[in-house]
Subunit: 93 residues, 2 copies
Protein backbone atom coordinates (compact mmCIF):
# COMPACT_ATOMS: atom_id res chain seq x y z
CA UNK A 1 0.00 0.00 0.00
CA UNK A 2 1.06 3.60 -0.55
CA UNK A 3 1.64 5.97 2.33
CA UNK A 4 2.70 9.58 2.42
CA UNK A 5 5.37 10.18 5.01
CA UNK A 6 5.93 13.76 6.15
CA UNK A 7 9.32 14.58 7.62
CA UNK A 8 10.08 17.90 9.31
CA UNK A 9 13.74 18.92 9.17
CA UNK A 10 14.83 21.84 11.34
CA UNK A 11 18.19 23.35 12.10
CA UNK A 12 19.31 22.83 15.63
CA UNK A 13 18.48 25.74 17.93
CA UNK A 14 22.18 26.70 18.26
CA UNK A 15 22.68 27.01 14.48
CA UNK A 16 22.09 30.44 12.94
CA UNK A 17 19.28 30.70 10.39
CA UNK A 18 19.96 33.64 8.03
CA UNK A 19 16.88 32.92 5.89
CA UNK A 20 14.74 33.07 9.01
CA UNK A 21 16.36 36.35 10.04
CA UNK A 22 15.60 37.83 6.61
CA UNK A 23 11.94 36.88 6.94
CA UNK A 24 11.83 38.27 10.46
CA UNK A 25 12.99 41.67 9.15
CA UNK A 26 10.52 41.56 6.28
CA UNK A 27 7.65 40.72 8.64
CA UNK A 28 8.67 43.52 10.95
CA UNK A 29 8.65 45.96 8.00
CA UNK A 30 5.12 44.79 7.19
CA UNK A 31 4.01 45.66 10.72
CA UNK A 32 4.09 42.21 12.29
CA UNK A 33 5.70 43.49 15.48
CA UNK A 34 4.54 40.58 17.64
CA UNK A 35 6.59 38.07 15.61
CA UNK A 36 10.19 37.27 16.49
CA UNK A 37 12.64 34.39 16.24
CA UNK A 38 11.60 33.16 12.81
CA UNK A 39 13.13 29.93 11.58
CA UNK A 40 12.80 28.11 8.26
CA UNK A 41 12.99 24.36 8.00
CA UNK A 42 12.18 21.79 5.37
CA UNK A 43 9.12 19.65 5.05
CA UNK A 44 9.74 16.56 2.95
CA UNK A 45 6.92 14.38 1.69
CA UNK A 46 7.77 10.89 0.52
CA UNK A 47 5.37 8.46 -1.11
CA UNK A 48 6.34 5.07 0.26
CA UNK A 49 5.19 1.60 -0.77
CA UNK A 50 4.98 -0.37 2.47
CA UNK A 51 2.95 -3.04 4.20
CA UNK A 52 1.91 -0.84 7.11
CA UNK A 53 2.12 2.78 8.31
CA UNK A 54 4.84 1.74 10.76
CA UNK A 55 6.92 0.19 7.99
CA UNK A 56 6.47 3.38 5.92
CA UNK A 57 7.55 5.52 8.88
CA UNK A 58 10.63 3.35 9.32
CA UNK A 59 11.61 3.76 5.65
CA UNK A 60 11.08 7.52 5.95
CA UNK A 61 13.33 7.68 9.02
CA UNK A 62 16.02 5.70 7.21
CA UNK A 63 15.83 8.06 4.24
CA UNK A 64 16.11 11.08 6.54
CA UNK A 65 19.08 9.57 8.36
CA UNK A 66 20.93 8.51 5.20
CA UNK A 67 20.22 11.44 2.89
CA UNK A 68 17.69 14.11 3.79
CA UNK A 69 18.93 15.48 7.10
CA UNK A 70 22.38 16.67 8.08
CA UNK A 71 22.79 15.19 11.54
CA UNK A 72 25.40 17.75 12.52
CA UNK A 73 23.26 20.83 11.94
CA UNK A 74 19.71 19.52 11.73
CA UNK A 75 17.23 17.37 13.52
CA UNK A 76 14.30 15.61 11.92
CA UNK A 77 11.05 14.04 12.95
CA UNK A 78 8.40 12.12 11.09
CA UNK A 79 5.35 14.23 11.75
CA UNK A 80 2.73 12.23 9.89
CA UNK A 81 2.15 8.99 7.99
CA UNK A 82 -1.07 9.08 6.01
CA UNK A 83 -2.69 7.52 2.98
CA UNK A 84 -3.77 10.97 1.80
CA UNK A 85 -1.43 13.25 -0.19
CA UNK A 86 -1.78 16.10 2.31
CA UNK A 87 -1.27 16.77 5.99
CA UNK A 88 -4.28 16.06 8.17
CA UNK A 89 -3.21 18.59 10.81
CA UNK A 90 -4.26 22.19 10.30
CA UNK A 91 -6.78 23.53 7.84
CA UNK A 92 -5.41 24.15 4.37
CA UNK A 93 -5.76 27.71 3.17
CA UNK B 1 2.42 35.06 26.20
CA UNK B 2 4.76 33.56 23.64
CA UNK B 3 3.64 30.87 21.24
CA UNK B 4 5.50 29.04 18.52
CA UNK B 5 3.44 28.80 15.35
CA UNK B 6 4.43 26.17 12.82
CA UNK B 7 3.35 26.76 9.23
CA UNK B 8 3.73 24.15 6.51
CA UNK B 9 4.07 25.56 3.00
CA UNK B 10 3.81 23.13 0.09
CA UNK B 11 3.70 23.60 -3.65
CA UNK B 12 0.38 22.79 -5.20
CA UNK B 13 0.19 19.25 -6.55
CA UNK B 14 0.11 20.50 -10.16
CA UNK B 15 3.37 22.46 -9.80
CA UNK B 16 6.59 20.67 -10.66
CA UNK B 17 9.10 20.21 -7.84
CA UNK B 18 12.62 19.83 -9.30
CA UNK B 19 14.27 19.67 -5.86
CA UNK B 20 11.95 16.82 -4.93
CA UNK B 21 12.79 15.02 -8.17
CA UNK B 22 16.52 15.34 -7.45
CA UNK B 23 16.05 13.78 -4.03
CA UNK B 24 13.91 11.02 -5.51
CA UNK B 25 16.77 10.07 -7.85
CA UNK B 26 19.31 10.22 -5.04
CA UNK B 27 17.16 8.01 -2.82
CA UNK B 28 16.71 5.54 -5.66
CA UNK B 29 20.50 5.40 -6.14
CA UNK B 30 20.86 4.62 -2.43
CA UNK B 31 18.52 1.65 -2.83
CA UNK B 32 15.29 3.22 -1.54
CA UNK B 33 13.22 1.65 -4.31
CA UNK B 34 9.93 1.87 -2.40
CA UNK B 35 10.02 5.67 -2.33
CA UNK B 36 8.52 7.75 -5.13
CA UNK B 37 6.92 11.14 -5.62
CA UNK B 38 9.16 13.12 -3.32
CA UNK B 39 8.24 16.72 -2.65
CA UNK B 40 10.01 19.42 -0.64
CA UNK B 41 8.13 22.13 1.16
CA UNK B 42 8.96 24.71 3.79
CA UNK B 43 8.31 24.60 7.48
CA UNK B 44 8.27 28.05 9.05
CA UNK B 45 8.37 28.55 12.79
CA UNK B 46 7.32 31.93 14.13
CA UNK B 47 7.53 33.04 17.74
CA UNK B 48 4.42 35.11 18.32
CA UNK B 49 3.46 37.30 21.27
CA UNK B 50 -0.29 36.85 21.65
CA UNK B 51 -3.01 36.60 24.25
CA UNK B 52 -4.10 33.10 23.26
CA UNK B 53 -3.10 30.22 20.96
CA UNK B 54 -5.97 31.17 18.62
CA UNK B 55 -4.72 34.76 18.38
CA UNK B 56 -1.20 33.46 17.67
CA UNK B 57 -2.55 31.16 14.95
CA UNK B 58 -4.40 34.06 13.39
CA UNK B 59 -1.23 36.18 13.28
CA UNK B 60 0.66 33.25 11.75
CA UNK B 61 -1.99 32.85 9.05
CA UNK B 62 -1.83 36.55 8.26
CA UNK B 63 1.96 36.39 7.97
CA UNK B 64 1.71 33.38 5.64
CA UNK B 65 -0.91 35.11 3.51
CA UNK B 66 0.93 38.42 3.29
CA UNK B 67 4.53 37.27 2.97
CA UNK B 68 5.51 33.66 3.48
CA UNK B 69 3.40 31.76 0.95
CA UNK B 70 2.96 32.38 -2.75
CA UNK B 71 -0.78 31.85 -3.20
CA UNK B 72 -0.40 31.10 -6.90
CA UNK B 73 1.99 28.18 -6.53
CA UNK B 74 1.75 27.18 -2.89
CA UNK B 75 -0.71 26.32 -0.18
CA UNK B 76 -0.08 26.66 3.52
CA UNK B 77 -1.51 25.38 6.75
CA UNK B 78 -0.79 26.14 10.38
CA UNK B 79 0.11 22.71 11.68
CA UNK B 80 0.78 23.52 15.30
CA UNK B 81 0.59 26.29 17.88
CA UNK B 82 2.56 25.44 20.99
CA UNK B 83 4.35 27.11 23.89
CA UNK B 84 7.36 24.81 23.32
CA UNK B 85 10.04 25.61 20.72
CA UNK B 86 9.60 22.27 18.96
CA UNK B 87 6.87 20.26 17.27
CA UNK B 88 4.95 17.97 19.59
CA UNK B 89 4.03 15.56 16.80
CA UNK B 90 6.55 12.86 15.96
CA UNK B 91 9.57 11.81 17.96
CA UNK B 92 12.66 13.89 17.35
CA UNK B 93 15.66 11.94 16.17
Amino acid sequence: MSYYVYIAIERKEAILDPQGKAIEHALSSLGFTSISNTRIGKLVRLKVEAASPDAARHIGEEAARKLLANAIMEEFSVIEVTDQPHLSVGAHA
